[in-house]
Symmetry: C2
Subunit: 355 residues, 2 copies
């Protein structure tokens, strides 16, 4: 900007996170933001049809009772151990603000969800990144032995899709009982295993999940967390200090409706897992390699083709995937699992490209 | 809590804001949270009827283009000078975080919106409160002459309803061009005058408004701000560092639809102003006094009756108003302006009570 502001010294300046592109063109095959290819449960449409707009003149229920009740029922966790927010980004940001308030650095993997270091920066939280091993698995030993102010690990990890077994996560939680350990399970419903049962055993564990992927509700912004009663209380206190009414009345109802349709949830997540396994098999045949993914995306690499060029070529052909121009992963592409038809289209393109 | 947590030293503990009660009982006359007694524009219901739930599988437009366009058109402000958030609380919290990042205390009135000191606490922003004059008007001179890191003034002020003339606000903005001055205009549509035109003149002015009151959309959570291109850019950077997708797809459409119905907006706000003037006249006859309100509430006091007792008596009779147990205002009740019928019911009760 041409001229410095008179009050520039009082402004918190940050380098913002860049979200995946949302192309306006509707003819695009959109495999770049890990969205679910299927619509949400038909029960969601019913909520919209039945909703009386007059209700909106009133503030929403600040406690999100209907949604919390539905989560409590579905996951078998008591209500005072559940927190909800405007997407898991909101839940995670509030958790960083609440739990990472010491001078010790927090730790997370070097290759991981790109928002962690952004939140650490905005909240002035010191952090250190623990490198993944060469095969993109988490270095459990390094996470166990670090002296830190908190831990965040996504499981499955993003953008690699790799999972860490529960026993390894438990070792890490156990080693850091003087800090909060956040396990970010945004992609757990596609074949991973949640560490949710461990909240009964460890007061310092927070498990975060979202409706954006497996419940096809990225457009509605619903995230949630499970933890000990005490963790949830401190988190809620900060949240209520920030904004008492964050989740609007319609979204609360939509979330509860989606949760009530277990059959649809099981069916659509199963379909995605099946398509993912199909895509893995087919893309291997073209010479691509990838860490074994248990999420709704696959992180592909080809020894003979430059990822950045391939990314551009795909985009040119209206196929959007995600490319990260970052050390260690700048020769990979993250491909979201869409419908079988979507994957056949990208496979056809890749087959042609690698001929 | 019985036992201290092992990681208590790493937690940000706060005293949370207590929102006004949301009674479950539907037979209550709810005059406690400054909600609009009328439903939102019929165009909002149409949005819900036409909305295809399938859209929700995708992330919302992070730039809220449709809503920003509608605001730009309605208020005649270019798009790069508009910011939107999840209610004005979200807009204000992000603004505190972005603009009040110096060691100098920010200033706001001692009697004002109860969230200001809560945000200052959660973000560790030093603050000083400048007492209102005895008649509950803002002490302009004191605001002009203070050496501070930023200024926040609601206009009309809450819970007093008192307005400050534009010339006085301009003096304050002018005196603090090395800081950001936030004018919180949550209640401006009920007869106040927005300082919006001043953003052309002062780079340090941020004007914040909301859909919760005058547009009957408290349940949807939409707030917005106008400011110089530079202020909006810094604010957006912090917002995108926090959470890229905060406003869900349905809410964006609802907001744009409500804005497009100017006729309905004018009609309903006029009705509320008319009912407020009627209430003022009638409640005076019962011996109540109040600072002159230009908002959708009146802050009443009676020399012969204790406000806390009256609050309890009203509640007992299913009439909810707001009582603040705070110095200087603990003998007042904030009464939201409802429909004429609502106000007649509370007047009947007060008439009986003061007999």
């Amino acid at each position: 900007m041409e001229k410095e502001l008179a009050f520039f010294d009082k402004i918190r300046t940050v380098t913002p996170y860049t979200p995946g592109e949302q192309p306006k063109n509707q003819n695009v095959i959109k495999l770049n933001t890990n969205e679910n290819p299927y619509p949400p449960s038909p029960k969601v449409q019913k909520v919209l049809e039945a909703f009386e707009a007059g209700v909106l003149r009133k503030y929403p229920d600040p406690l999100c009772t209907e949604l919390i009740d539905a989560l409590s029922k579905e996951y078998g966790v008591s209500k005072d151990r559940i927190f909800v927010g405007v997407g898991s980004d909101d839940v995670l940001a509030m958790s960083f603000l609440t739990f990472f308030n010491s001078k010790k650095p927090i730790v997370f993997p070097d290759i991981t969800y790109s928002f962690y270091d952004v939140w650490a920066d905005v909240f002035r939280i010191p952090y250190e990144m623990i490198p993944l091993k060469d095969d993109f698995t988490i270095n459990t030993e390094a996470f166990v032995n670090t002296d830190c102010g908190g831990v965040v690990i996504p499981n499955p990890n993003a953008p690699t899709g790799v999972i860490l077994e529960t026993s390894a996560i438990e070792e890490i939680i156990k080693a850091h009982q003087d800090s909060v350990v956040i396990i970010d399970e945004a992609y757990v419903d596609f074949g991973g295993r949640s560490v949710l049962p461990l909240i009964d055993k460890y007061e310092n564990l927070l498990v975060v999940q979202t409706f954006s992927k497996s419940r096809s509700l990225a457009g509605s912004r619903i995230g949630f967390a499970f933890g000990s009663e005490k963790l949830i209380k401190y988190l809620s206190d900060v949240k209520f200090s920030f904004n008492s009414y964050t989740m609007d009345s319609i979204t609360q109802k939509i979330g509860a409706a989606a949760l009530s349709d277990k059959e649809y949830f099981t069916e659509t997540t199963k379909k995605i897992v099946k398509t993912r396994e199909y895509f893995k098999k087919e893309v291997s045949k073209l010479g691509f390699t990838f860490p074994d993914s248990m999420s709704n995306f696959v992180f592909i690499h080809h020894d003979q083709y430059n990822a950045k060029d391939l990314f551009a070529a795909l985009k040119e052909n209206n196929i959007f995937v995600r490319y990260f121009d970052k050390p260690r992963i700048n020769d990979y592409l993250r491909v979201t699992i869409g419908t079988k038809e979507d994957m056949d289209k990208i496979l056809a393109f890749l087959s042609e490209y690698t001929k």
